[in-house]
């Protein structure tokens, strides 16, 4: 694709801290290269803001390789922007053309409160993982990697679920602010493997209980989460979690 430069109008959500009101600010950015990533464009804007003595825009980022799950940003009405199966850091400016106006908002959900500007607090996800996203292992000398036979098909499904990077785009996209795609990916990747068997029932119950406690909504199977997921986590995982949860509720001996 041919290289080009563009001038853009950005409408960015600015919010001083968690308790302040917040509002949109409009910025003009010039000579943006089509080869830049979306976050590099924000770096250019922030450099300019710093030069002007203004507060730069706070946004989450880390690896910038699309694998860490830190970057967020709700761009023109879609988490991670217009591309499919893509994170904001891997969104490139060739997705836009000269003269475009781009509206950038933080993830919106009660369970993801804004910390500052485009940065939200996603520690609710960490607490859901702590509630059950672990397995029991024997300590001591390492076990041979192939000691436990795993069916190839299940290994593949578990791996596909484990690809979830916990970015929270599913919550941001869901009209109910439901975290079920995330929770179902985490439950599925362990429930499908023999290593996850010991805590299988309590895991489903505890992770869902923690999810509810964090204030996420209920799933109504609209499919918006799957459509925006940068790792293409399948909505089928949600159905798997539903059956795991129901069976655990019926068969679990606790409570």
């Amino acid at each position: 694709m041919e290289h080009y430069t563009m001038n853009l109008t950005l409408k960015v959500w600015r919010q001083k801290n968690a308790t302040s009101q917040g509002s949109f600010e409009t910025y003009q950015v010039r000579n943006i290269s089509s080869e830049m990533s979306f976050l590099e464009m924000f770096d250019v804007l922030n450099e300019e803001l710093i030069h002007e003595g203004k507060e730069p825009i706070a946004f989450d980022h880390d690896c910038r390789e699309g694998i860490c799950g830190m970057c967020s940003m709700y761009i023109n009405g879609r988490p991670h922007g217009p591309w499919e199966a893509n994170t904001t850091c891997q969104l490139h400016m060739r997705a836009f053309k000269d003269g475009d106006t781009i509206v950038v908002e933080p993830w919106r959900a009660n369970a993801f409160p804004v910390i500052k500007d485009l940065t939200v607090d996603r520690s609710a996800f960490d607490r859901i993982i702590q509630a059950g996203g672990y397995i029991s292992v024997n300590t001591g000398s390492p076990v041979d990697a192939n000691a436990i036979p795993v069916e190839k098909e299940k290994a593949d499904m578990a791996f596909a679920a484990a690809a979830c990077i916990g970015c929270g785009a599913c919550v941001a996209a869901c009209k109910n602010s439901s975290a079920l795609l995330f929770v179902s990916a985490k439950v599925s990747h362990l429930a499908l493997l023999p290593q996850g068997a010991p805590e299988r029932r309590t895991r489903a119950l505890n992770m869902v209980a923690q999810m509810d406690k964090e204030g996420f909504g209920s799933c109504t199977n609209t499919g918006a989460c799957e459509a925006v997921c940068p790792k293409e986590i399948s909505i089928t995982n949600i159905a798997r979690l539903n059956s795991e949860f129901t069976l655990a509720g019926l068969l679990s001996s606790n409570k």
Binding site: F24, N176, F216, G217, T220, N221, A227, V228
Partner: protein, 210 residues
């Protein structure tokens, strides 16, 4: 939602099947006999209690779910996501359900209340049977507004089922891709055929086909 939804789907099959008797072309005799059986036999009368409970539970659960979910995002987006990733009818189950509820209130007032409470005329072939068929003629014939409201009710039901049918099975934990495909196809067919058959009933009376 899913269990009550599937229960109500089963009810629709019974309802559409019995009502299809209006097309027997016998002046409503077969239909009135079917209606008499439903009203007089103990089994459908017990099931009727379950049906009311099923409706009530589905409605209460539906509203509770809708309001709880709406409250989970106090500050919304400036740019809505719209149809980027989900279908409008999947996101509008609360609205579609409310429209169906409004239709249901009108529908109960039209037919259930006269059948059970205020009374109906005797059927010509048997004085012990109600003439529910002539009540349908009275409600629909020459009454364009009522026919339009019934058709709109059926359209709301079609969209509601288009999401609800397959969603119910996902909620219950159906993960097999082969069966998900089958259920989705079955759901789409059901969502079109059943509401279409229902919609044809008031249209048939209005057009004078029965």
């Amino acid at each position: 939602m899913s269990l009550t939804g599937i229960f109500l789907i089963l009810f629709l099959i019974v309802h559409v099947g019995l009502n299809a008797c209006i097309w027997a072309n016998d002046g409503g005799e077969m239909f009135n006999k079917a209606a008499h059986f439903m009203g007089a036999n103990v089994v459908p009368r017990i099931l009727e209690i379950g049906l009311f409970a099923g409706f009530l539970l589905h409605i209460i659960q539906g509203f509770a779910l809708e309001f709880q979910n709406r409250a989970k995002r106090k500050q919304g987006y400036a740019v809505a996501m719209g149809n980027k990733g989900s279908k409008w009818y999947s996101r509008s189950m609360g609205l579609l359900g409310t429209l169906i509820l409004l239709f249901l209130i009108m529908h109960i007032a039209h037919f259930w209340v006269p059948s059970r409470i205020t009374g109906l005329p005797e059927a010509a072939y048997n004085p012990n049977h109600h003439d529910l068929f002539s009540e349908m003629v009275k409600v629909f014939e020459g009454n364009l507004l009522v026919v339009i409201l019934y058709v709109l009710g059926c359209i709301s039901l079609a969209w509601h089922l288009l999401h609800g049918f397959q969603s119910a099975f996902r909620t219950l934990g159906l993960t097999n891709h082969k069966y998900i495909g089958m259920i989705s196809a079955l759901g789409t067919g059901f969502s079109i055929i059943v509401p279409l058959a229902f919609a044809m009933m008031p249209i048939s009376f209005y057009a004078g086909w029965v």
